[in-house]
Symmetry: C2
Subunit: 291 residues, 2 copies
């Protein structure tokens, strides 16, 4: 920890801040994003791993300050929302990026198909319960966006209901931001071919079978519908308060570096500080000596 | 991940399994444990860090299998319960040991002073809500044991109530074990002098002030009462189903290696397996090719 104090500002691996570089523009189309590309980064897989490690050290220090600051009443927290097609690497982000910081400061939740109880409530009910507390980095592996993605593709919700949900999401996220939550929304974008080869690997390897579900291919057959649903959802909820970032994700190492950079920038923007002692240090030192 | 498949059984760093070596014996006394000692380990801080890293790789593979196995219905889970005096290193265990595995497979909870709502229920009510699900490693930083430690020392509960609680804890933990929870109970034992120097460090360093609370010294003034309360609690709840382990913790590197070894042994005892595919691999391969 003494090392952390001495950490100097380090060079950032991307040539432009990730939140600018990867932000979905107005009238966003997925066709504009090449899943194989590595925007803003001229390095390769090897240097990418080194840069991830270094970004992780910075993140780790920032996360500890965020947590510490909250103990004396600071309210900021971070919510990382991960959305993607199957195999795009959400799990790898949690393992290799979120895993770079202290587990005590992370609140991770993977949203599955809703339970009967969850279905009996509005779609944001179960989301609300998993929001991170002050000082935490919350991580959503899937989220309320499923309710405008699979629901649109599968027709579980009609157009009027989808409209209601886009608006509800924007209001909900605006409230989170007003409550001092830094909302980092990430769509990880892989190509359809890349998904095929990743699913094929899951089928080839017995230690990967548990990650495969025949339903994954059913969803894959609706690939174009999903891409359209993503485009609509991103455009309808790409607010100033909670903008979308779209990460080319065919190269896992790039996607990890990009998300780590987004988290780093979010925390640098919060700029958490070590809280000032609310006790009399000299007096406590004396009490300690006598004890 | 392909590397994981090839992991061969590795040598274990301790000369005796940690769950035997560190298990509290019948009629346990804390005087029998030297907080500076490193039972079963002849290495030093440097080799200890290497051995922790290697144990972490084994742990990581076992945790993934535990999680995978649960997806096809296996019920085992692990609950690590950490108890200790302030500064003994519970937080370091979470950061440096629990942090070695995928955050997706961990459910961590730090119990604080109970809220009014929690106080309005029996002491196990809030504990029950934080129990890990199948496939998870649950980590309790403090636990239901606070209700027989600080409550005994401070007299918040009388003897009859404490007796009720010891018995209730034993029944509760026996049920967890019957529900396929591997309960790993750890008391981290530091010396009173070591606590003084760690508290002093927190007072010296502004980036550590947030970890200090004048109440920590109030508790320290009751050190002997706490040691007695720990001895009684350990002896009253040191069951075959859920035994206690007492870890000499003056050397942080040893305590981390010891707890990592306990977790590794717990997972090896569960011996989780990659689940067998419940789908027709050939058929899915064909569907994928066509998609």
């Amino acid at each position: 920890m003494s090392k952390k104090q001495e950490v100097l500002p380090r060079s950032v691996p991307l040539d432009t801040p990730a939140h600018e570089l990867l932000r979905a523009p107005k009238d966003f189309t997925l066709g504009a994003v090449d899943p194989k590309s590595t925007p803003g980064y001229s390095g390769n897989k090897i240097s990418g791993a080194d840069d991830l490690k270094e970004t992780g050290q910075v993140l780790d220090g920032l996360q500890e300050r965020l947590f510490a600051d909250s103990r004396s009443g600071a309210t900021p927290k971070v919510l990382l929302i991960l959305q993607a097609m199957d195999t795009a690497g959400k799990g790898g982000i949690v393992r290799h990026v979120v895993g770079l910081v202290d587990p005590q400061g992370v609140e991770h939740h993977a949203f599955k198909a809703p339970t009967e109880e969850e279905k009996a409530h509005d779609f944001l009910w179960r989301i609300e319960k998993e929001l991170p507390g002050a000082g935490y980095i919350g991580v959503f592996d899937r989220s309320h966006y499923e309710d405008v993605l699979i629901h649109k593709v599968r027709g579980y919700a009609d157009d009027a209901e989808l409209e209601r949900r886009y608006a509800a999401i924007n209001e909900f996220e605006a409230r989170l931001v007003a409550e001092d939550t830094k909302v980092v929304k990430v769509m990880m974008h892989i190509s359809k071919d890349e998904q095929r080869s990743r699913l094929a690997e899951r089928l080839e390897r017995p230690d990967k079978h548990w990650k495969f579900n025949p339903g994954d291919i059913d969803e894959r057959l609706l690939w174009d519908d999903y891409m359209h649903a993503y485009e609509v959802a991103i455009n309808r909820t790409n607010t100033e308060a909670a903008p979308w970032h779209v990460i080319p994700a065919n190269r896992k190492w790039y996607a990890r570096l990009a998300v780590a950079s987004l988290l780093r920038e979010a925390l640098e923007d919060i700029d958490p500080q070590w809280p000032v002692a609310t006790f009399d240090v000299k007096k406590e030192r004396k009490r300690l000596q006598k004890s």
